[in-house]
């Protein structure tokens, strides 16, 4: 692939992938690094004959796999995993989306972002995340419930 076709592919796909990486990692530097790695992996495989939709899905899949790899390698350092049970989220103030995303598990963040921001079908999400298609619906439901609980201000009694 030459510079010009790469540039048009990058311009058409980088922004949503970067936003996805930023939402899942919560770290700008990490998102930038992974984004570059995504395109390097894609570039190495020379998959130019794919359609735009397939390419886009494929790039998201590489991004997701890279995040998983990093998560496995440096779990404690990099990733705010799961909900801190010791901390009370029974707060009067509304948690903003960033805090809510941080409180969610990385997989929940991935699912919510792909489904609601990228508008992907369950089949597409299954391809990207490597999960079974039938399991997407319940997993997304649980992620949505958790997110709704974090985003919705507690009803004052």
């Amino acid at each position: 692939m030459d510079e010009e076709p790469f540039q048009s592919l990058y311009d058409a796909t980088a922004r949503p992938i970067h936003a996805y990486l930023l939402a899942v990692t919560g770290q700008r530097d990490l998102a930038d690094d992974v984004l570059q790695e995504v395109y390097f992996r894609f570039f190495q495989r020379q998959l130019t004959e794919k359609s735009f939709a397939d390419t886009r899905r494929y790039l998201f899949r590489i991004a997701t796999n890279l995040l998983r790899d990093r998560w496995r390698r440096r779990k404690e350092e990099q990733w705010p995993t799961g909900f801190d049970q010791g901390r009370s989220y029974d707060v009067d103030a509304r948690l903003d989306v960033r805090q809510a995303l941080k409180a969610l598990k990385p997989r929940d963040r991935e699912l919510l972002w792909l489904a609601y921001v990228e508008g992907m079908s369950h089949a597409e999400i299954a391809i990207i995340t490597g999960l079974n298609e039938p399991s997407i619906r319940p997993l997304l439901f649980h992620a949505r419930r958790k997110a709704a609980g974090l985003l919705r201000p507690k009803e004052t009694s």
């Binding site: 980088a14 922004r15 570059q36 190495q44 989306v97 609601y116 949505r144």
Partner: protein, 162 residues
Amino acid sequence: MNRNACDQESLLVASLRSGESAHELDEHLATCESCAETGHVAQSLLQYAAMTSAQGRPPTAKRVWHKMQERQRQFARRQATRGLAVMWALAAAYLVALTTWYFPALWPTSSAVLEAAYSSLSNGAVLAGITAASTSIVLGALCLLFMESRIESPATHKEKKS
């Protein structure tokens, strides 16, 4: 309607993403708990996405392209030097084996041993073996130097380009 599965959910998400609201969906949202929750979460995420998209731009295509080219060169260099590393290891192993085999024979513990060693050197077969081994080492070393000189370092490559 199932609590975690409403047929209207995908329509709702599509409508929120496009920013076009449909009257039927508004009516549906008032009665469907699942869709109301989906709408709330999706709306929050979409607003967050719009906000972060405006603030956090990805690196430019040019920058990523140059980094990719650099990594590609490093990758090619690693691939090429893998063979060299094997050759260096073989050469070192050969040198160790040769030293272990022949060095004790040359150690002048006594004049008799030295004499024996000297006489063995003058033996045609041993001398031919040593000559062949030395020639191989010299040729191997020259080959390695030649191959290394052909592999450009990234710094050299940049200098050449500029």
